[in-house]
């Protein structure tokens, strides 16, 4: 493979492995009783969140959701800040104001924090894109939602607005088969999300969300097209949420064979196979694995040693 592409894939592997390792470290904290409140699972979404974020330029903005740990990391929010955020510490992204990966925004890194009411980030990203367009800036906004978010009125309203305005926005729909416990066929009469996007006047493409190369290629094309003034694109990335909705959820409602089937398509295993087949020696990839484990361990140590927020500051920050 060409060197640029090889470097890009190696970089994607590092981010995906960091996402996986950090997610597992978070799980371990919760399973050993050190967690605070609830937390979400990332497993299965690593190629989408990492790949999509890698398609952006530093001046672009991204409005991720709770399955997009990889996007926060790629943008430069450190594992330490994220882990401290998970544990409600003063050193976390929101200083203990918001929970787990909610409100994990930092405009210094072009990241807009999300709220639980999916897909509220969608019109926000459309508005950010409208601001870029209004000021004639060559910037793009990218946001994520799921198949559950894609059935809301706000999804239709936002796509219509984006199409009307020709806004430079890319909407990645992580079609992960389940909205909490409800399978897509039970919540969407028309499960073809791309068709619904096209019906609203927005270009749309379906991709394999576990295939990092498909994510990188298609999101890069969508971002490029937005930057060229050709308007919004919806990228429907098909995947499987491999664990429950959140840490409390055993997801017993998911048929075992579905998980077995998707386990064979694990996105982190898949990118490793691509790299090995391209001639990257296993020891090189193993070194990446060890370094991400060290980063995750360091983040946990940092977060556990971090101070709690001072209760006397509880009223600070309501007003700008």
């Amino acid at each position: 493979m060409p060197t640029d592409n090889a470097d890009r894939l190696l970089s994607a592997y590092r981010w995906m492995q960091l996402t996986r390792t950090l997610d597992e470290a978070i799980h371990t904290l919760w399973l050993t009783g050190k967690g605070v409140g609830g937390t979400f699972n990332q497993r299965g979404h690593e190629a989408i969140s990492v790949g999509a974020a890698m398609c952006l330029q530093p001046d672009d903005v991204v409005a991720p959701m709770h399955r997009d740990l990889g996007a926060y990391l790629v943008r430069g929010i450190t594992p330490r800040r994220i882990m401290a955020q998970q544990l409600g510490r003063a050193t976390g992204v929101s200083g203990g104001r918001d929970a787990n990966i909610h409100g994990c925004g930092d405009l210094d890194f072009g990241v807009i924090g999300f709220i639980s009411h999916l897909p509220q980030s969608l019109p926000v990203a459309v508005g950010a894109a409208m601001a870029f367009q209004h000021r004639d800036e060559p910037r793009v906004a990218l946001t994520f939602t799921g198949d559950g978010g894609a059935i809301t009125g706000l999804f239709s309203e936002s796509l219509n607005l984006a199409a009307l305005e020709g806004a430079p926005v890319v909407i990645v729909v992580e079609e992960n088969q389940y909205a909490y416990s409800t399978p897509i066929a039970a919540h969407s009469a028309n499960t073809d999300i791309a068709a619904r996007a096209r019906a609203a006047g927005v270009e749309a493409v379906d991709i394999d969300g576990n295939d990092i190369e498909a994510v990188l290629t298609n999101v890069a094309a969508a971002v490029g097209s937005a930057r060229e003034g050709e308007g919004p694109t919806v990228v429907v990335a098909h995947t499987m949420r491999m664990l429950g909705h959140a840490i409390h959820d055993g997801a017993e409602y998911v048929p075992a064979e579905l998980l077995t089937d998707w386990e064979r398509r694990d996105p982190v295993d898949a990118i490793r196979t691509i790299l090995e087949e391209a001639g990257h020696p296993a020891h090189q990839l193993d070194e990446i694995d060890s370094s991400t484990r060290a980063e995750a361990d360091d983040a946990v140590e940092f977060a556990l040693a971090s101070p709690w927020p001072d209760p006397s500051t509880v009223e600070n920050g309501v007003w700008a």
Binding site: V61, A63, V93, S94, R97, D98, H102, G103, C104, G105, D106, L107, I112, G113, I115, S116, H117, Q120, L122, P123, V124, A125, V126, G127, A128, A129, M130, A131, F132, H134, A141, G153, L154, E157, S158, N160, L161, L164, G317, V318, W319, A320
Partner: protein
């Protein structure tokens, strides 16, 4: 006026509506980040009430932007524009319709700065209030919902001068501001409006009329009902002090408490539903902070706990007016 500004070169006899239009045009001239968004607002139509007509004619459809009938999406888009440094001023066609964009306001915009420190500097202009025989869905005063949501400022001007100065300050504020406009005042009320840069600070009440016997605390169109009642009562030897809150969040409790400590009687009046309205908070604070000064219970007048009815006798029964205010003051002064 506050801020030490004066009414130099006032355009006398501007309506309340024209004052709002003037403020939009002034602020758009001053700051290119200010854009207007809403349904049917662009020129030449200029909006359901024509408030944005002059701005649309002057600045064109790039800065006075029509939106589809999708409040949730365009208020959400205003959130994104504001995060990127713009200052959108959104018109919801009627305050009653703001519910369709509620998540974008109270969940996203209101909480963002507290949660992760980013500013969301927009204004939502909400043509509110009744008395115009417009029925349950074109007459509401939903300000209490927003006062109850941490992170939003809520402004409710009652005069052309205040509408102009408070709108300038609202647009410049770095927080999301709900700007409640009183529709019955749009064309019925005229007054002096400055032409230049005369912002009025948010969070300062105005003593609309000084008095010694009883304090009426109110805002919006009810200010004028209260001053009418005060004139009537003056003929009976009762001197009413009328305080116009002007900003409902943050509340200027200092002015309220100072007045009630002096008059020893308080009546809180608003056109919005009385039950759990803004007046309930004001009354509770007075009871808490002024207990030792009070010669009578703190009373409230507000809309009844029913949807705003359409037919004139029903709406009049629903809504406070100068006669009801005068009677409540007589009762308090006779306590």
């Amino acid at each position: 006026m506050t801020d030490g500004s004066s009414l130099d070169d006032p355009r006398s006899e501007r309506t309340y509506l024209e004052a709002i239009s003037d403020a939009l045009v002034f602020e758009m001239s001053r700051d290119e980040n200010v854009v207007l968004m809403g349904e049917d607002i662009a020129a030449p139509f200029g909006g359901a009430f024509k408030v944005t007509k002059s701005a649309g004619e002057k600045f064109g459809s790039d800065r006075v932007r029509n939106t589809p009938m999708s409040e949730s999406a365009f208020i959400g888009a205003a959130n994104g524009m504001a995060l990127m440094g713009m200052r959108p001023v959104v018109e919801v066609q009627f305050a009653d319709f703001v519910t369709t964009g509620f998540d974008s306001i109270v969940q996203f915009a209101a909480t963002t700065h507290y949660r992760w420190g980013a500013k969301v500097p927009w204004v939502i202009r909400a043509p509110a209030d009744g008395g115009l025989r417009s029925g349950p869905f074109h007459s509401q005063n939903p300000e209490a919902w927003f006062v109850h949501s941490p992170g939003l400022k809520v402004v409710a001007p009652s005069t052309p001068t205040d509408a102009y100065g408070l709108l300038l300050s609202s647009i410049r504020d770095d927080n999301p501001v709900i700007f409640m406009e009183s529709k019955p005042l749009y064309r019925s009320l005229r007054g002096p409006v400055p032409t230049g840069d005369h912002p009025i600070s948010l969070g300062l009440a105005d003593v609309a009329r000084p008095g010694r016997d009883c304090t009426v605390i109110t805002y919006g169109a009810m200010r004028h009902q209260a001053t009418t009642a005060a004139e009537q009562l003056a003929g009976e030897g009762i001197e009413i002090e009328v305080i116009d809150l002007r900003t409902l969040k943050p509340l200027d409790l200092t002015t309220v408490l100072e007045s009630v400590a002096r008059t020893s009687r308080a009546l809180v009046v608003h056109a919005a539903n009385r039950l759990a309205g803004v007046g309930a908070e004001v009354a509770a604070v007075i009871a808490d902070e002024c207990f030792g000064h009070l010669d009578a219970p703190v009373r409230r007048l507000g809309g009844l706990d029913v949807p705003v009815p359409f037919s004139p006798p029903l709406e009049d029964a629903y809504r406070p007016d100068s006669d009801k205010i005068a009677q409540a003051c007589r009762d308090l002064c006779a306590w």
